[in-house]
């Protein structure tokens, strides 16, 4: 299967997950978007050598995943794909930071390793909540939430159109790729000239399609402004509880290093 087939199916899968009906899915999207953003800000605000302090933050994505009934394996796979990109940079930390700050028996651990692990931790936390956000909210709802929070209408329209036509275009793109691949014998990759011409054709078809869409819009009276019926947005008690609860949680565990405290309790080394 082509790589593009794979990514496309992935895309559809997240979209489908967003259609489920769980307590999390039913929350107003604004609550979810804001809480996720605050989560990320909290996590990245940790010092570079913090690892254990970040661990309690795993609870947020964990809870969302289980209550939102999201398939763990699928999300894990997606996270694993993305993490190497952060690690490629992070792996240099032990190279440049060799100051010893930890000791385990006879082993002296460089700061660089600690901060590298910290980067790994951050990567896991931030990418998991980003994916979970879409899986429990859905893209159109996320856009709506952002619009209500101040994003300009033109940009919202752009996002929605983009989303809508990604399905159509990746479909076309898959078909073109497949057709070409079936006529390529031997594992020769796609050369630049061929690519240019293939993509050029796709671009022209896209341009034509955009013209036809424009025609269809005009045929229904479009004159530049998008009017929308405002869907009832209920930012009610559940949303307040959700946000308030999690923000308190984040703040608490940001300030107090719970695992460290817990560990000290157990190992009897309270200061």
């Amino acid at each position: 299967m082509l790589a593009i087939d794979g990514s496309f199916l992935d895309f559809k899968q997240l979209d489908l997950l967003a259609m489920r009906q769980t307590a999390i899915h039913r929350l107003d999207p604004r609550a979810k978007v804001l809480t996720t953003l605050l989560f990320i800000i909290c996590v990245v605000s940790f010092g570079r050598y913090e690892i254990s302090a970040m661990l309690p933050f795993l609870i947020y994505p964990m809870v969302l995943m289980t209550v939102g009934d999201l398939p763990g394996g699928y999300l894990l796979r997606k996270i694993l794909i993305v993490i190497p990109f952060a690690l490629v940079i992070g792996i240099f930390n032990p190279v440049f930071d060799r100051q010893v700050i930890m000791q385990l028996g006879p082993f002296e651990i460089w700061g660089g390793w600690i901060s590298c692990m910290s980067i790994l931790m951050r990567a896991i936390l931030t990418t998991s909540v980003a994916l979970i956000l879409v899986a429990v909210t859905g893209f159109p709802a996320t856009c709506e939430a952002l619009e209500k929070l101040g994003m300009p209408k033109v940009f919202t329209v752009q996002l929605l159109f983009l989303y809508r036509y990604i399905f159509v275009l990746t479909d076309e793109s898959v078909r073109t790729s497949r057709a070409r691949q079936l006529r390529t014998f031997g594992r020769r990759g796609l050369g630049i000239r061929q690519f240019g011409s293939m993509i050029g054709h796709l671009l022209l078809r896209t341009w034509n399609r955009a013209e036809r869409i424009h025609m269809a819009m005009l045929a229904r009276g479009f004159s530049g402004e998008f009017h929308t019926t405002h869907r009832q947005s209920r930012f009610g008690r559940e949303e307040i509880v959700f946000m308030g609860g999690w923000i308190t949680f984040f703040a608490l565990f940001r300030v107090y290093n719970a695992p460290q405290l817990l560990g000290r309790l157990f190992t009897g080394t309270m200061p």
Binding site: D15, P140, L160, F161, Y163, R164, Y165, F167, V168, R209, R212, I213, M215, A216, M217, L218, A219, R220, G221, F222, S223, H227, T228, T229
Partner: protein, 273 residues
């Protein structure tokens, strides 16, 4: 009723590069008529349709719809009166959900939210897609998309429905559903199609276009009986009129199989083998 009439007078359209797409096309369609425009690819069918809602402006000639001449300043009203459904429903369904797409037209007309709501519900009912209300368009099947696309113009309460190749790409069941749906409408219907059997079922009048000219304009059965005309225009008789596939000369069914085929019939041939 004399209004809701579509009059095309000496319409001529020349592309920017100089090719003449339409030469002196004239016809008049009355209220409630169901008219098909047929012809080979490139004959000018779609180009002609695009004039009917003012997307293209004629190089010369005029178009009068419902007694109003089609000029720039009354385009908005014309576009409400003439509901156009395009060939590829993906071009027409560009909003996040079915509801949004059907509401698009009425909202552009400036209607109030409650009115928009009722129009959408009604349009969904008429095309039998009430259950698709909150679905995104990329989750619909081909037939569903077609029906929703029709609903997107129905919500504007047009008097004239123009459809470009409506049965294109539909499976037999969806096609049958669509034909039944269109037959139930009382609007003036103008349809372009290669599906000559649908034309036979649905349209009492047919206009044949060939290289931008009107070659024939009359009752459908008559036109489809004129073999020479059809041949010149790169058309053929609808399958329903082509004779029994089993007992006609030139049939490709093996003689041994013939006795096994039961008696069959349709409205043109009803016989035993």
């Amino acid at each position: 009723m004399s209004h809701h009439k579509v009059e095309v007078k000496n319409l001529r359209y020349v592309y920017p590069d100089g090719t003449v797409a339409l030469h002196d096309v004239s016809f008049r369609i009355h209220h409630g008529e169901s008219v098909a425009i047929v012809g080979a690819n490139g004959a000018g069918k779609s180009t002609l349709l695009l004039h009917l809602n003012g997307y293209l402006s004629a190089t010369s000639g005029e178009i009068v719809i419902g007694g109003t001449q089609l000029v720039k300043r009354n385009l908005t009203e014309i576009r409400r009166t003439v509901g156009m459904v395009f060939q590829d429903p993906d071009d027409q369904l560009f909003m996040p959900t079915v509801f949004d797409d059907i509401a698009f037209g009425p909202l552009n007309m400036g209607l109030a939210a409650a009115e928009v709501e009722s129009r959408v519900t009604e349009a969904l009912e008429r095309v039998g897609a009430a259950n698709l209300r909150n679905k995104p368009p990329y989750h619909l099947s081909g037939g569903e998309k077609k029906r929703v696309a029709i609903a997107t113009v129905l919500s504007m309460l047009p008097e004239i429905l123009v459809l470009d190749e409506p049965t294109n790409g539909l499976d037999p069941h969806a096609r049958r559903q669509l034909i039944a749906l269109l037959q139930a409408f009382h609007h003036t219907r103008i349809v372009t199609s290669h599906d000559l059997d649908m034309v036979l079922d649905m349209c009492e009048r047919t206009i044949v276009l060939q290289e931008g000219r009107v070659m024939a304009d009359g009752p459908t059965l008559e036109i489809f009986g004129n073999e020479e005309l059809l041949k010149t225009c790169r058309l053929e008789k609808p399958l329903a009129m082509q004779g029994c596939p089993i007992c006609s000369p030139g049939s490709r069914i093996m003689p041994e199989q013939k006795p096994l085929v039961p008696r069959h019939g349709d409205k043109y041939h009803d016989h035993d083998h």
